[in-house]
Symmetry: C3
Subunit: 679 residues, 3 copies
């Protein structure tokens, strides 16, 4: 490790346990509260639950008429929770509005891309700029904080719920223009950055700029505008979050605050938003199938956990997960035996200090009434799902030592929101099918299958002074956009001895989505020692190959036609008119190496390539063992003790040999091994 191991404080001050619990909506059960609420407490304790999240979407219950608050029911439930030693994750209710507000103040309603104003309904249907909405938010959040600031149950603030969407109202348009003036010194600079001479789109006045819209065609053809709109939307959420938290911060300065994220949700740059959060939390809903396919799904879920942890580089919260079926999936499959425990420990393995659910008790109505829950409509502890949850509760209770431990990653894989916005918006290659996330996960998975702890970082972290120093290996699939400072940081990383891996579609555009001139991969051309002249797109039925070290690995989708300049050619294309031309290269530069993979490959190539790379670079693995396919090992450590989680995402029983010992894993089984830290 190039950096010291850190032991973090527990997420909720004074609660040195892994948290176990979930969303709880007692407000839906007020009619039967005498029996139901009490029974809820009994069942929660039975399931080993020590936290419940309350008040999400409760605005209509808390403020049934403008200015008239009803806190009685919440007082009662928080008292009950305190009595039962259950920590409250208390939500601000801003994820949905009461009807009276939409009626009285239509400005709070969101405006769509096509400039129609939404009607009341749904969630997240509000304008983030609206002064009225901000005022009402401050009022209800202040009232909540004042009332419960000293309540013994209060452990953490849960701001709103799953921020998302965007608003195109006139207030937001004006705010967008103000934002743009902070980004561009003049309209000329903006026109040049956005290349607006194309199709006569040159702006003659700031007031002519509007947010993108499919309706009316064409503004979406200015890619720079699209990019800035996405950046602006992220800033809107950051700003609104800070607005929401202001009274909480003032009144309860010691209670940490979060809002629950959603993995790679494309609408917000989470690396930016995370800067504003005290702790990162997220909602994880893998689509388990109970078949061999779950190996891939497990790898992706791990990727998302690692991404979420890397946002702030410290333990996070699994704020929501399903104890059984996920109702909104096209096929709402049940969890197979073992799967619930597996997914729960997986989160912890990757740095979560909580396992929380949506939700504790199933509602009788509404669109989520068939979502898995701890307590079913049936209402007792005798269900299979309840028993699965109780098993998780018992296991978590044994793992207090894990709280606050570190993840010793020496490898970083790059995932970048701005890049994704530009790449998915570009017209060329495989239009709308560039599969950026899939490519990143494929590279990530090659480490996951070897049990290598991995961070997932973005351009802002790459360019952050010193950040790359902690890594030995940096992998950046499809690094299409090079934001300022990124190429320089990578080059320095390589020259100092790092190992860098890049692929096709690297170094095409700058932060404004303008192509680099002079040859791709633009500012990384010297680092990688190649010139990418053309990129060939393959039809779904087309195949090429990368021939490397005696093996022909299938190449699909995109094959870049490169020239090795200072790089050495390791592998070549197998067919078509560019057969024999370089497809895999390495450039030795300073103390390090920069690899280039010119085509999209299958997992077989990545497994072999990264297998060698891990061996060569000597990066830390959780277990010194050959892991069966679909089985990963992940480690958390306090510097003295390692907690190794061995997780089997296959429907077969498997054994892992490690250090002379055998770990047997049931189908979808797991093992947690404690050992002294060797490194």
């Amino acid at each position: 490790m190039n950096r010291p191991i850190v032991r973090h404080a527990p997420i909720v001050p004074g609660v040195p346990h892994l948290l176990h619990g979930g969303d709880y909506n007692p407000d839906q059960w007020r009619a039967s509260k005498e029996t139901t609420w009490k029974e809820d407490m009994r069942l929660a304790r039975l399931a080993g639950i020590n936290t419940l999240s309350v008040g999400i979407f409760a605005w209509a219950a808390l403020e049934p008429e403008e200015g008239r608050y009803e806190f009685g029911w919440l007082d009662e439930i928080l008292d009950l929770m305190a009595e039962n030693e259950i920590t409250a994750v208390l939500a601000t209710p801003t994820g949905a509005r009461p009807g009276w507000m939409s009626r009285a103040y239509p400005e709070v309603l969101r405006v769509n891309r096509d400039r129609t104003r939404n009607r009341h309904g749904g969630r997240h249907n509000h304008c983030l700029t609206s002064p009225v909405y901000r005022e009402k938010t401050t009022a209800v959040n202040t009232a909540l904080a004042e009332r419960y600031k000293d309540h013994p149950a209060l452990g953490l603030w849960h701001l709103s719920n799953e921020y998302g969407g965007e608003c195109h109202c006139d207030l937001c348009q004006e705010r967008f223009r103000e934002y743009l003036k902070t980004r561009f010194a003049s309209l000329e600079e903006l026109n040049e950055a956005w290349w607006t001479a194309f199709w006569a789109k040159t702006y003659g006045d700031w007031s002519h700029i509007e947010s993108p819209s499919e309706h009316g065609r064409g503004e979406q053809d200015i890619h720079g505008l699209q990019l800035e709109w996405m950046r602006f939307t992220t800033e809107q959420f950051v700003d609104f979050y800070e607005h929401e938290t202001a009274p909480l911060k003032a009144i309860t300065p010691d209670v940490p605050r979060t809002t629950n994220l959603m993995g790679t949700y494309p609408g917000i740059d989470y690396f930016r938003l995370a800067q504003a959060l005290d702790v990162v939390s997220w909602d994880s809903y893998p689509e388990w199938t109970g078949t061999e396919k779950d190996a891939a799904k497990g790898a992706r879920a791990s990727f998302l956990h690692d991404l979420t942890r890397s946002l702030k580089g410290k333990p996070f919260m699994l704020m929501e997960s399903s104890p059984s079926a996920t109702n909104w999936r096209p096929v709402a499959k049940l969890h197979r035996p073992g799967v619930h425990l597996l997914q729960s420990l997986q989160a912890v393995a990757h740095g979560s200090d909580t396992v929380q659910y949506f939700q504790f008790r199933k509602g009788r109505g509404g669109s989520e009434k068939f979502h898995g829950a701890v307590v079913d409509h049936e209402g007792t502890e005798r269900t299979r799902v309840f028993q699965d949850v109780a098993e998780v509760g018992a296991r978590l209770a044994e793992l207090d030592g894990v709280v606050g431990t570190d993840t010793p990653a020496e490898v970083a894989v790059v995932y970048d929101w701005h890049l994704r916005w530009a790449l998915e918006d570009q017209k060329g290659m495989l239009q709308g099918r560039t599969d950026y996330e899939g490519a990143v996960v494929a590279h990530y998975r090659a480490f996951w299958e070897q049990g290598v702890p991995t961070d997932v970082i973005d351009s802002s972290l790459i360019a952050s002074p010193g950040h790359l120093d902690r890594y030995k290996v940096l992998v950046a699939p499809m690094l299409y956009m090079l934001r300022p400072g990124v190429a320089e940081a990578i080059d320095a990383f390589v020259r100092r001895g790092g190992t860098f891996v890049a692929t096709y579609a690297t170094g095409y555009v700058d932060e404004h989505d303008r192509t680099f001139l002079g040859g791709f991969p633009g500012p990384l051309r010297e680092t990688l020692g190649i010139w990418a002249e053309e990129i060939d797109a393959l039809y779904p039925e087309d195949r090429n190959a990368i021939e490397w070290d005696g093996t022909a690995y299938e190449a699909v989708e995109l094959c870049e036609l490169i020239h090795a300049e200072t790089a050495e050619t390791l592998g070549a294309y197998g067919s078509d008119f560019y057969a024999g031309r370089p497809a895999l290269t390495v450039n030795r530069r300073g103390e390090g190496r920069a690899y280039f993979i010119a085509a999209r490959t299958g997992d077989d190539f990545l497994a072999d390539f990264y297998g060698r790379l891990v061996a060569e670079t000597g990066v830390e693995r959780a277990l010194d063992a050959d892991l069966p396919p679909g089985v990963t090992a992940q480690v958390r450590t306090d510097g003295t003790t390692d907690f190794v989680f061995v997780l089997n995402f296959t429907p077969a029983a498997v054994s892992v040999e490690a250090g002379g010992e055998t770990v047997d894993l049931a189908p979808f089984g797991n093992a947690v091994v404690e050992r002294p830290r060797a490194h």
Copy 2:
């Protein structure tokens, strides 16, 4: 039979024949009426046609300017029909409006879910609440009735055409709120019924309630609102029908009235609408292929005929069918030889006392100009289609004895609109792919293949006092919603000796789409003797099995994980983590039995299961014979004579052995056998 056989009166008083004819639009041929209209009469008689439906969509011809009526052309054509002994089915013209009305009174134009008001055009593009539209309707209907009340051709009123759609205008919104006040005693009751605490949707005032809309997101998440909107829409049609019929009823009390329905059209609860009709009529357009697939299509067509007959439990009208291609199908295939006669007799076999077409003479323009018709653009009797129609005319003329006869069904299959609305709206299981109708038809088909007369009923009939007494077997696939009284009626039916069959997805929600608490199948838990703990959804490629009596039958889509409580386990799951758990049970209760099939199966299981059930229960079959696959037999009876229709929906010639006799059927062939009634 548990009830006496009934002989009904002919549909048109004084016309003791099966009616044969169809839609006729002489108003499109006014320019050439001297030749065309006369030729029409000659051709109609040649084809054995004794009825024609006139005036559908004729409003612009009848009232070309506001308040100025032109009846002359209709006088002429009705006189011609009377001369030629052709009964007129006379339509009110309200299926489409003249342009002047949309111009002068925009309120008559329908408003869509997204709250945009339609422009003029199409059909059924009017608001049912609009006072103007109602006033104009009354005026034109009154004028029609007054003018033709004593016309000798007038036989039946045909109201409008294929009622459908819905309107979301402000007038309808207000009317919807009035309707809701008749359904819920208070806003609190409504909030509790619709579980509006979910996502802060609690209504603070009646005026906040609006019809569902995708635009604006979210109101559609209140399932109770969706349900009441569909119920309201049905009531709107009932009310509008009654409004339309009022002058007809007053002026021509002895002329029966109908409007043509459309099978399982999802927008209107036809069991409710049928209460308002004097006679039920419908438009049947099976998608024949000329291949083995027609067995399935034949079964479905029969299901729809039986459903339509069951709406009022007496003979109905086949108001429209195609004598050849159906132009709006993606593939407008010609009828193979025999098919036209087959589909015509099929309707009669299931209780229709008419065979009518869209249309008599093909129009030269408009979107239906290539729809099959009796008289083609060519214009003579020498076409194959004309000859097919004439053959039907000749056969029907031999079947006067069938008029008004009864269908001796001892089996009822349940099909319920309210249930379907809720089931298709629910989010869980197989979202949007629950295939309720397909499941019902699959169970129905098992009886159809055995030639068992079957009614198709809904919850309103189940809960109707005494209604179930007539049946020996009641089959309710996916009885997801239990409306008030249904569980009680079924339980009484079983205890009295009935045989009840239920399946997975039974007893989940009440009439407001709120789940039952305490364990599914809710109020039917004791009747069925099981507890359904969980339901597993299968991916399209997944398979399980029900192992029953030595055979493993494929199970797909949904597998419910049940516990046999008082029930006996007959069959078990074949694989996955619930292998060996009950999949087929029977609960003996009182004098009867209640079966439960826990998974979606193929036709093989249903054939074997219902084969035994029919034998055990001894329900009446039309023929005591093993029918080849794709061949059905159906019976109508006056209590003395049975008319047995043997219908071959396969492209192969087949023979049926029945009572020592052999019936030979050509490909798509038929036979009608008269015999004394034995039962």
Copy 3:
């Protein structure tokens, strides 16, 4: 040949070379013009480029504020071009508007079918009726023409860009009504022509007529209205084109004018629009795959070239093509070696006197930044694509003799916009899948594979007095609509000795989309000697066969059931209930013959059928040789010398034996052979 060979003048007066060049957007590079523009000139000359198109989409650069023109940059670039002997194709900038115009005059913004007004953005987003837009167009075009009327670089006017779309604003509605009054003498005549009695659509006043709209349902059900709307839209473009050209014509009467078309773009009848153009130009973007599939794609590209040439019956311009990938294709595949030269010579082979590209230098931003271009972002001449372009430049420079030569076609295939509008709008047969263009191209390809020069003409040319005299063979697949004079001209053509081939779906409707009465194919019934009684539509998996001369050829999609009246039956159906009935007939009439193919067949039947027909009729072929599949030969001639282009659209090397000589062709290779003209 029935007509004399013609030698046409060069397209640009005084430039007796094939033009080579493309779209050029120096306005996007003004920031770096000192280096970039000069380098552009050097690179253009290096690539053998002698023309560049400038000013397309330059309105914002030419008129940055209302009324303030900036011509300086254009002065400079035209001067540079003149210095470098590069002919300017100078564009009017009306393809897209500056933002100030949309702001100041919202009437210029287009209104969609759903009656929403577009926002600013995109291209072709203007109302063609708008007086403001017309005034601004006149002003800028006048300023351009005045400024550059004597500029030595000016060679040709390029009006706007790829005219398309339609506008439904109130101004256009009014203009549409005026247009209709020129088409119909009275509202009664219109009502009768449009068959509006159907569904009560009879118009009571001219003011009630509106353009079609899906929104509001139903106006689209009046097929005659749809047809006239398409005709009106075509007339709008013709009228706007003439409006745009008026100042150019007045100021620079000797500079020819064109606008670039798009093959079979369905929104405009190009036969009508071409009447207004001085020279026809078009943009060709075949979707090459590099596989055997390119034979079919090559045939279709040739069809489009022949269609474009036939619009005016003289050499045309390939105004745009891609020198490499086409970025907006779902898969932006690179050109394989040879393909760029092949597609360029293909255009010339079919009558193009230019090879032009989109575009010369790749832009850095905007939605087309990854479209193939002569000069890549890399910026030098060393790219593969640049070398491909330079090769084309060199080859074209050797072909001055081709300029203005004729295409000696004795065969015409019919492709008709009005027919297509009606056929694709009709509801019946295979709704929305009638594949008119595919059927026409399939018949065309049978000639293409034999190297037979072919014109592609529409009904207006058929009915044009004397036009058919030049042909020996006329092929009209799916001649669904017979516009006035067409049947008469075809019958005269046959009686005079011509060979006519028709197929299923012929002679159904008149110019107003009203079916013919008395039997199909309507007015062609005597010419063809058949009566088409019915048409059977086949499911995708269905197959029938045409049995002809010992071979059973597959029949799919549509099988017409015909009666041979005076015709002789050559082939019969192979199966289904119409097995043995006529499927291929010939009617001898006067000196000629009229064939009828009753079903959609595969290419095998068409190859055999037209193989015999070509032999029997002795029509001219480019080479007297058996061409391998996927290889065509095309000829241009000045009457003395033939230029024969042999083109290989397959990925295999092939040899062609012709007149004792062997022509060897590389994969995707070509040969151009000069020979004395024999005919």
